[in-house]
Amino acid sequence: MSEESVAILILWALVFAYSILGSIDFGTGFWGMVYAEHKTMAGKLANRYLSPTWEVTNTLLVFVVVAFIGFFPKAAYTLATVMFVPVTLILFLVAIRSTFMVFSYSLAGYERLLRIVSGITGLLIPALLITVLPVTEGAFVSTQGGKEVLLYSKLFSSPALYAYMLFGLTSELFLSALFLADFAREQGSEETYRVYRRNAIFIGPFTLVTAVVALVSTGPETRWLLQNLAGEIPWFALSLGLFVLGYASLWWNNRAHGSLGWPRIAVLAIIGQYAFASYAYGKAHLPYIVHPDLTVKTAFTTEATFYSLLILYAVGIAILLPGFIFFWNLFLKDRSFIRDGKE
């Protein structure tokens, strides 16, 4: 594999990891708002997950940015110029969201405010984040007087933008509902599980529809992408298969819990579904990072930097992995909270 391929693969893995964790994070914020006063543990469970984890998820976001700059600095140049406004707005929302998250944890009595803030920002941030996809497809960028600009009026009047946003939102809600269903089961709260299972069942099919609409509605500029996507049919078939498997598993009889569904299987299958689909999308997107000017080759960093980053990744992950495992066991496997809740 060439150096660029390794770099883009690592970047893809990071983006993928963030899109899953970020979806769960933002979606959980939304569910926390919706179920604030719910009779089950649904709202509490959502907050319970968010409190210790948002910081790690946020660091992953910065990781994606830094990795992008390190591997493809020239693409970072273009995207930073073109996406200046949307990304700055994302930063604004992220700042408000994180601050409220911490402050309301420290000040009991303001949970309602937190839930509203994290619920609303939980919808807005992903909707803004996903606009980067149609932009990299090349449909909304033009070069005027030697500088690249985003064509705002074209972007906002394009149905593709809204289809992408809907795709982002439905995915976020689907993934987080599934995750919370599994988390509820893990924590032993069957009625909370049922709440999230129902949501996941309802939203699941919409993710497929919006994904297809988003891809086909962008316009003539992205015909190159559609042609490439057609070459990746096997991957998409695999992805669809995993969706069917995961979706179906929500109805399988589960004797141990005396109810329907195997949420752990569903979560893993759906993550697999997204992995294959986004891999295929990424593959079809190549060699372009931003169509049509920037390819992985022209945007690539220097060789020496590439290799030192590679070594750093190996060393850094080896050092941090035990910390992550400790963290995971401490917070996600711990059931003391359901016990406390029932007291």
Partner: protein
């Protein structure tokens, strides 16, 4: 204002806001670690209470440090895309390691804050140690990038701006890396310790309203704050001096601007205070100490110090850097003096003769808090503005680095509103929190060590 100026103002404002919280995060993590150690060593539960209460403040401040850090991190790319292009090719290593440091701090901070009751004492101390390590490492790493901008190394550049011959580690360990990061870390500890001393001094000013137990607690906090302020203050002087020598060796025009020195000369004087007159090219209303600059920069009075006239006028840093440099040194000198005096009073007069701290001395310790931050802010403005017109010294000008995007102005305004709002909110949250959790309650349960 044009886009370049707007970008500079925007970025400078974001950073100035971020470092208040980031620096407190670094300084407080050290103080928390020390007080946990003191608790285990002395078995004095007051120190456990301190660690607990400071951690609460720390967690609240981190709630602003992390999102504002995210802002500056991404804005580095957004506002300076030209710079980012070179950063990505040459100096991405420290940024990357910094991510790992953030993970370290984030993981163990969550563990320490949200699961403290489930940890053994050893694991608590270990988590704290990692938090401190992560925070300090963040400072070292970001400073590596900044020192590289001041003294770039580890690459070559062609006429057309393309980069070759890259050595990332040489860039990382650039000529001012050690002096710069040492100074930054020490001054972060200094500012943190100064803040602790300031809060304790403030509480002791209102001693009439307090119980004997509370007064004893605040005194321990005061002494601990003063000791760390003095120790780090002395180290700060040494490291600051090393930074100045480094300027003499590598970026002489920055030193010349800091001192308002125009003529290259031996036996160069040190100019304190005053301002640089742009017309007459001399320092007005300042105090000149003969020979001092030559001695400071090169250890001998006959050393030649280059003046600004040796450099093309387009590459002169702005003259106001003289004032920022003076303010930083002034803050540092005062902090050493106050903490030294406070400790001397405590040891010779309070302990030996049982006299209370006088009001003026307590007010002086209160000043340690703001002084630390004056030092931090003016120091950074000096360092970044003193590099002008360069973003990467002698390789890239600020205008080449800046974004060409539209709407920089309106978004800058939006963020000013955000920072004012977040700053005010932080103060309110801290006050409400500590009013709801009074010290007496924590002292009664010994900070949860006994209940």
């Amino acid at each position: 204002m044009n886009t370049v100026t707007l970008s500079r103002a925007f970025f400078g404002t974001s950073l100035a806001f971020h470092i208040i919280f980031a620096t407190l995060g670094i300084g407080l993590s050290l103080m928390i670690f020390i007080s946990e150690m003191l608790y285990h060593w002395r078995k004095d539960t007051d120190y456990a209470v301190m660690a607990k209460r400071w951690t609460k403040a720390f967690a609240i401040l981190l709630g602003v440090a992390i999102p504002t850090g995210t802002i500056v991190g991404v804005q580095l790319a957004l506002l300076w895309p030209g710079f980012t292009k070179i950063v990505g090719q040459v100096i991405s290593v420290p940024f990357q390691i910094e991510i790992f440091a953030f993970f370290l701090e984030a993981l163990f901070m969550s563990i320490y804050v949200y699961a403290a009751d489930r940890l053994t004492p050893f694991l608590r101390l270990l988590s704290l140690f990692f938090v401190m390590l992560g925070a300090t490492a963040s400072a070292v790493l970001i400073t590596s990038a900044n020192t590289w901008m001041n003294t770039p190394a580890g690459f070559s550049m062609k006429q057309d701006g393309s980069i070759y011959d890259v050595n990332p580690w040489e860039a990382f360990f650039n000529p001012s890396f050690f002096t710069g990061s040492f100074h930054v870390v020490i001054t972060a500890y200094l500012a943190g310790a100064g803040t602790i001393a300031a809060v304790a001094g403030w509480k002791l000013l209102k001693r009439n309203e307090k119980t004997a137990q509370e007064i004893a607690y605040h005194k321990k906090g005061l002494v601990l704050g003063l000791v760390v302020t003095l120790v780090t203050g002395l180290l700060m002087g040494m490291s600051g001096h090393a930074s100045a020598v480094n300027l003499y060796d590598h970026t002489p025009e920055k030193l010349a601007a800091a001192e308002g020195l125009f003529e290259t000369q031996s036996y160069a004087p040190l100019a304190i205070g005053g301002f640089v007159d742009a017309n007459t090219h001399e320092v007005r209303y300042g105090i000149e100490i003969p020979w001092a600059l030559s001695i400071l920069a090169a250890f001998k009075p006959s050393a030649v110090v280059q003046g600004l006239n040796d450099f093309p006028i387009e590459t002169w840093p702005p003259f106001y850097t003289h004032t920022f440099f003076n303010l930083m040194v002034f803050a540092g000198t005062l902090m050493i003096a106050i903490s030294g005096l406070g400790l001397a009073y405590w040891y010779f007069i309070h302990r030996k003769r049982g006299k209370q701290f006088p009001k003026w001395l307590l007010w002086a310790t209160v000043a340690l808090g703001p002084l630390g931050f004056i030092g931090i802010e003016t120091g950074w403005i000096f360092s970044c503005s003193g590099r002008q017109p360069w973003t990467i010294y002698q390789f890239q000008t600020t205008a080449q680095a800046a974004t060409k995007a539209d709407f920089v102005g309106p978004l800058f305004f939006l963020f000013i509103v955000l920072y004012v709002f977040l700053g005010a909110l932080t103060v309110i949250v801290l006050r409400v929190f500590f009013r709801r959790h009074p010290l007496t309650a924590d002292l009664a349960t010994d900070g949860g060590k006994r209940s």
